[in-house]
Symmetry: C2
Subunit: 247 residues, 2 copies
C-alpha cells in the first residue's frame, strides 16, 4: 500500500478509469488498484485499426481486479478524420523520434478525450463514482491538444456543472467529480518504471497503431517509437513482440 | 431571409446541429436553415424508449434540406440511471405541469448534453464546421443541469481547448467553435410560434417519452405536459396524436 495510514477496512473510492489496453492506461489501472480504488473500467470499441487493443484491455481489467468493465461500441469512423479510424488516411511510419510532437499527428482522433471523458462522466454518475482516471501524459501533451493540463482542468469544471451530482454537491461547496491524471507530468520511461514496480507485464499491453494480423507491433509508427525509446531510457528490456527486424 | 444584407451567393456557415426529432430540435433545424447554415445533423440512437423519435429526426432532416445526417448508435442503456434508457426506472406520468422543474426528473440521462456536444464537436472538427447548434431552452433549465447557460459557455471554452482547430485558431486570437443555443431564453410557446412561422409541421415531431406502438403520445409524461401547455399558451392548435382521451 502506498498509504499505510489507510485502514484495511476503509471503503474504496469509486472511480471510472479509461482503459485502452495500452502502456499508459494499463499502468494507470495498476496505480489505481494500488491506491485502493474501486475501478469501473471503460474501454471504447471505436472501430480503431488496432483492435487487438481491446483484448489487451480485457486482460488488464482481469489482472487488476476491476469491479466492472464496460466495452462501449462507438463508431467514430462515421466521422473519419484520423489515421486511427479512417482507412483513407495512412498511419505515419516515417517520423523520427526527435520530431514527434512538433505538429499534431495524423493519428489525432478529433475531440477524442472530450468524447471519452464525457462518457466516463455519464458512467461515473450512474455508479456514484467521484473520480475519472485518465492516462494522458507529458509526452502526449506536445502533440495532442486534449492532453494538456488546461483541457483536463476545464473538463473537471464542466463535469461539475453538467450533472445532478455536481449540482447537489455544489450546494454544499463540494466538487462531485475530480479528473485524476497522475501520469500527466511523467515521461514514458518514468511510467514504465512505475508500472514495472507495480507488477505490470508490458508484454500484455498494445501500443502499436498498425500491428499485423498476429498482433505483432510494427516498430515504426509514432506509438512504437515512443514506447521503444521509453524502455531504452528506463534501462529495462522491451518485451514487445515486433514484426521482423524493423527498427 | 432573416438578414437581407447577406448576398445570395454568400457561403453558408458549416454547422453541426443536434437533431432529436422533437419539438425543440426540429424548430432549431428550421431556424438554422432560415439563417443559411449548411447543416450537418447528428442524431443519437441511444437505445431510448421513444425510438419513433429517430423516424421523426429523419423526416426533419429531409424537410429542412440538411447537407448530411448521421445517426450514431450509442448504447447508453449499458450505464442505466435514466427512465429514458433503463427499463427498470418508470417514466413519470404523474407530475402536474406546475411542479415540473422543481427537481431533476427521472428522465434525466446522466451527462447527456456533455456526451452529445462532445460527439458534435468531433463531427464538426472533421467537417470543418465552426458552430454547434443545440436546442436547449429555458423550460429545461429548471430541471436539467446540462441545459444551463453556464454549462453551455463552459463547453464552448472546452471545445476550443480540446481540438486541433481550436489550437490553430487561438494562435490568431480567434475561436474555432461557437455553441449556438438560440432557443435558450425562449418559452415553449415562443418556440412553437417561431417554428410555425418558419413552416414546421409539429404533427411530424415527437416529444412523448412513452408513446404507444403506433407512435401516439401518452399525454401524461412531463414532455407531453410541457408540449400541450406550450400549444395552449401559444394559442395554436396542438396537432399531436394522443392516445385515447388522456389528459
Amino acid at each position: 500500500m502506498t498509504n499505510p495510514s489507510v485502514p484495511a477496512s476503509a471503503e474504496k473510492t469509486k472511480s471510472v478509469l479509461l482503459l485502452s489496453g495500452g502502456l499508459d492506461s494499463t499502468t494507470l489501472c495498476a496505480l489505481a488498484s494500488d491506491r485502493r480504488r474501486e475501478i469501473h473500467a471503460l474501454t471504447f470499441d471505436y472501430h480503431q485499426r488496432h483492435r487487438c487493443e481491446l483484448d489487451a484491455a480485457r486482460r488488464s481489467a482481469a489482472r487488476w481486479n476491476v469491479a466492472e468493465h464496460i466495452v462501449l461500441s462507438l463508431d467514430l469512423s462515421l466521422f473519419g478524420g484520423s489515421s486511427l479510424t479512417d482507412r483513407s488516411i495512412p498511419v505515419d511510419h516515417e517520423t523520427a523520434i526527435e520530431h514527434i510532437g512538433e505538429k499534431i499527428p495524423t493519428s489525432y482522433v478529433p475531440a477524442r478525450n472530450t468524447v471519452f471523458l464525457a462518457l466516463a462522466l455519464a458512467y461515473a454518475e450512474t455508479r456514484g463514482a467521484s473520480e475519472l482516471w485518465i492516462g494522458v501524459n507529458q509526452v502526449d501533451y506536445s502533440g495532442y491538444p486534449d492532453c494538456r493540463v488546461e483541457f483536463i482542468e476545464t473538463f473537471e469544471r464542466l463535469a461539475n456543472l453538467a450533472t445532478r451530482a455536481g449540482v447537489e454537491n455544489a450546494k454544499e461547496g463540494r466538487r462531485a467529480f475530480r479528473v485524476v491524471a497522475p501520469l500527466s507530468k511523467m515521461s514514458k520511461a518514468e511510467i514504465i518504471r512505475l508500472g514495472t514496480r507495480l507488477g505490470v507485464d508490458y508484454a500484455e499491453t498494445v501500443s502499436c497503431y498498425s500491428p499485423d494480423a498476429d498482433g505483432r507491433a510494427c516498430g515504426r509508427c509514432e506509438a512504437c517509437r515512443l514506447r521503444r525509446a521509453g524502455f531504452a531510457e528506463a534501462g529495462l528490456p522491451d518485451p514487445t513482440r515486433y514484426v521482423g527486424n524493423s527498427q
